[in-house]
């Protein structure tokens, strides 16, 4: 489980996150939803360590990321996988080399073991025979799947997905959602998804956090969402706008 306690973040004089308290549950798809510019990405970047909060605690299974030493932080980071909005595949490496990259850097596997693991990960995301292709030679949906394969190459405990459906057609979006859900449940991963796609919420959202103007307005499960929508005007507006979109 990942827990945020009183997290604040500002850029110069503009505060972006206000006293965020939230829990992200193990083996579940935890969705951070909210309009663009509301602080979702900053919150996720703080969680993965790309940004440092001004104050508060970010605990990965009771390990506070902000008070760990360099070695401990490295160990936690090896348990983290991330699927970026633009996939962030290394474009000078082939698909195979991209997935092999974290294994090369952090494992003691032999080249044969690494190759076997790469093929397993590719098969797991329903991709085969694209090992030697470069990211520029494959489609957007395939890139997302390669991104997932790279994220799960090491035995991760936490998966972060930043707008996993952005730039994809509706059918591919649903396939990616289903794949993320399968992997989360299969490996018992704590999955944090940053999204404003209400279809994703409806399909795979187990635990939902609504962020608006840098504050957490609501946290709960899918069945409570309807009720919350009636109570919270901002959430209602966001959901209606998302469906309209």
């Amino acid at each position: 489980m990942i827990e945020l306690k009183n997290v604040n973040k500002s850029f110069e004089d503009k505060q972006v996150l206000f006293d965020i308290n939230a829990q992200f549950l193990s083996g579940k798809n935890n969705l951070i939803i909210g309009a663009s510019g509301g602080g979702k990405s900053v919150m996720m970047k703080c969680m993965v360590g790309l940004l440092k909060p001004d104050s508060g605690q970010i605990e990965f299974d009771q390990r506070d990321m902000l008070s760990l030493d360099e070695q401990q932080l490295r160990e936690v980071r090896r348990e983290i996988g991330m699927l970026f909005q633009g996939t962030a595949l290394f474009d000078s490496l082939t698909v195979e080399q991209n997935i092999e990259f974290p294994l090369k850097m952090f494992s003691k596997m032999t080249p044969a073991q690494r190759r076997e693991r790469v093929n397993f990960c590719l098969k797991r995301v329903n991709l085969e025979n694209i090992n030697k292709k470069y990211p520029s030679e494959i489609s957007g949906g395939m890139k997302k799947r390669v991104g997932i394969a790279r994220a799960i190459a090491l035995d991760i405990k936490y998966l972060f997905c930043d707008e996993p459906n952005s730039g994809l057609d509706p059918i591919t979006s649903r396939l990616i959602d289903a794949l993320i859900d399968e992997i989360t449940k299969e490996y018992g991963i704590t999955n944090v998804i940053n999204s404003h796609d209400m279809k994703t919420v409806a399909d795979i959202g187990d635990h939902i956090i609504f962020v608006y103007k840098g504050q957490k307005w609501w946290e709960g499960n899918k069945t409570d969402l309807k009720h919350a929508q009636r109570e919270i005007k901002e959430l209602d507006n966001f959901i209606k706008a998302s469906y309209f979109e």
Binding site: G49, L50, I80, F84, L89, F90, D91, F101, P102
Partner: protein
């Protein structure tokens, strides 16, 4: 008062320092180093060869044009070509050319990785991104650019010799006599000091510009331009500084 210079200088120093944290696996580092040595060294060989051959040739022809007095021996042309090549034309012109070729390449490569979140991906994995991306480029530059300097000096003198011989300005013996007459080991040593210094400027300034790119494709272009301009200005500044200090 504009503190921009101090801000960038401080951040540049921090960037250099951060490269030395958390070294990656030695084998991975060596693979990256050889890859960069190939790109910087072998990849730049044709442009360095062409530039230096012509610089040597032009120096011979222009020096002969300026030597109007019959009292000055023709062998002086050989002296001027070899000394000016070692002292100035070899390291400085080669490195100015390389700041355009290598510097722009480094800056755009790292800048593109920054805007497409590839550097974020490295950092999320717990990899020291400056150490992984910039350090092999800097060390490869420090190894390969002085070697390119030696090649440039050799080809420049050869170009000067060929131009003199082919155009009948001076004979083989005159050129060799002149080139050997005032040769000092320190001249070559000074040339290598310059090449090392310029290599560090080109690779580190370009890596810094690329690493802190913000925005999109337009900003990657801007970073590359800044990398070339700043590297060139710093090369000229250090060229003067080293000459003042060491000659």
């Amino acid at each position: 008062m504009n503190f921009s210079f101090f801000y960038h200088f401080g951040r540049y120093i921090m960037f250099l320092r951060s490269m030395l944290y958390k070294p990656e696996k030695f084998k991975v580092f060596m693979n990256r180093l050889f890859d960069e040595m190939n790109k910087i060294g072998i990849g730049s060989l044709p442009i360095v060869a062409i530039t230096s051959l012509f610089i040597g040739a032009v120096t011979t022809v222009q020096t002969a044009y300026q030597l109007v007095s019959g009292l000055i021996a023709k062998s002086v042309i050989g002296t001027i070509v070899s000394d000016s090549t070692m002292l100035e034309l070899g390291p400085t012109i080669t490195c100015l050319v390389l700041s355009g070729k290598v510097g722009a390449h480094i800056s755009s490569e790292i800048g593109n990785m920054r805007i497409s979140e590839q550097i974020d991906a490295l950092e999320v994995m717990g990899i020291n991104a400056p150490g992984y991306l910039a350090l092999p480029k800097i060390i490869a530059g420090l190894i390969m650019i002085p070697i390119l300097n030696i090649i440039a000096i050799t080809l420049s003198i050869y170009g000067g010799y060929m131009a003199g011989e082919l155009s009948g300005i001076l004979t083989h013996d005159q050129f060799i006599t002149g080139a050997r007459a005032t040769f000092k080991g320190f001249t070559l040593f000074f040339s290598m000091i310059k090449a090392f210094t310029f290599a560090f400027i080109i690779t580190s300034v370009s890596s810094y510009q690329g690493y802190y790119t913000q925005g999109g494709a337009l900003e990657v272009g801007e970073s590359s331009t800044k990398a070339v301009v700043y590297s060139s200005v710093l090369i000229l500044f250090f060229d003067y500084l080293l000459a003042e200090l060491l000659l």
